[in-house]
Symmetry: C2
Subunit: 146 residues, 2 copies
DNA sequence: CTTGACCTTACAGTATAGGGCAAGGTGTAG
DNA sequence: CTACACCTTGCCCTATACTGTAAGGTCAAG
């Protein structure tokens, strides 16, 4: 199977598959006489695994770790379970931040409805946006591939 | 006021302030005889405005738009209000995605507790991570500066 | 023999918000 | 005169997961 067919079957792209190989997520495949990558059937499962992992918020780096366990002859289940715990906590943190941000935004929308633009002081650009608003955490973070 | 003092007063850095200027968020300040940036008191409010905007999830690009209204002699309130609406919707979407992801992760943690690593088939790397899991949206996105 | 689809590598660019470092000028204190 | 703090510009680097483009090789069909 050439790279294009693998990409097609997995809903991926040839670029992505070469990238996964470069990142150590896919083993370097055999080559045809002409130098083309020649994949076996198991490649399909590997690429699907990568996509499934990305869908639940794993980075390629994390998936590489998981795959490394397999390549060392170990079951990656325990490591995956640990990653799941960590991810869940991460998501909880993000959720809390987002809920807080949502409240702040709602408060500002209410303010916007009551303040008169004519009273907006030029020096501070806009009176809708003021310091000391209750959002100090900065980002939401990428949980699943960007 | 030199750039270091402005940075200190606003809790920013000289790099960041020069960056804001390069991005059109701060007007090019006067210069001393020696070529140093020489800020007036209003610069303080501008930088604080930028930080406040970032804290509620505005990108520098969005803040530049807001500032542009002021620089064109208009009140930016209406535009800010529109941005707030948009941001709030964005956050709602992220929240929904994250909640869904959180559920999926919880389901996988439960599965991990019941599956035996000895049954994990090497071909698919790990039986904890399977396709068709109910998370299709990909990223959480940055809402506030990273 | 040529066309076209497919493949190869390598380099650059995307978005965001700066940080790090180099090489050098300025200004004040001792 | 020298040390030292501060300033200048300019260029590259960070993370993530690729995509785009260039320049060229392979292979089957017509």
């Amino acid at each position: 199977m050439l790279i294009g067919e693998l990409a097609c079957q997995t809903g991926s792209t040839t670029k992505a598959i070469r990238f996964y190989e470069a990142q150590g997520l896919l083993p370097p495949p055999a080559r045809t006489a002409g130098g083309y990558r020649d994949y076996g059937e198991d490649a399909n499962a590997r690429v699907s695994f990568i996509h499934a992992g990305q869908a639940i918020g794993f980075t390629l780096g994390e998936l590489r770790e998981v795959i490394a366990f397999r390549d060392h002859g170990q079951t990656p289940c325990a490591h995956v379970a640990a990653l799941l715990e960590h991810k869940a906590k991460e998501v909880d943190v993000r959720l809390a931040e987002l809920v807080e941000l949502r409240k702040t935004l709602q408060g500002l929308r209410d303010r916007a409805a009551h303040l008169d633009p004519a009273d907006c002081p030029p020096a501070s650009v806009c009176h809708l946006i003021l310091p000391n608003l209750p959002v100090q955490k900065h980002n939401i973070g990428r949980i699943v591939n960007g």
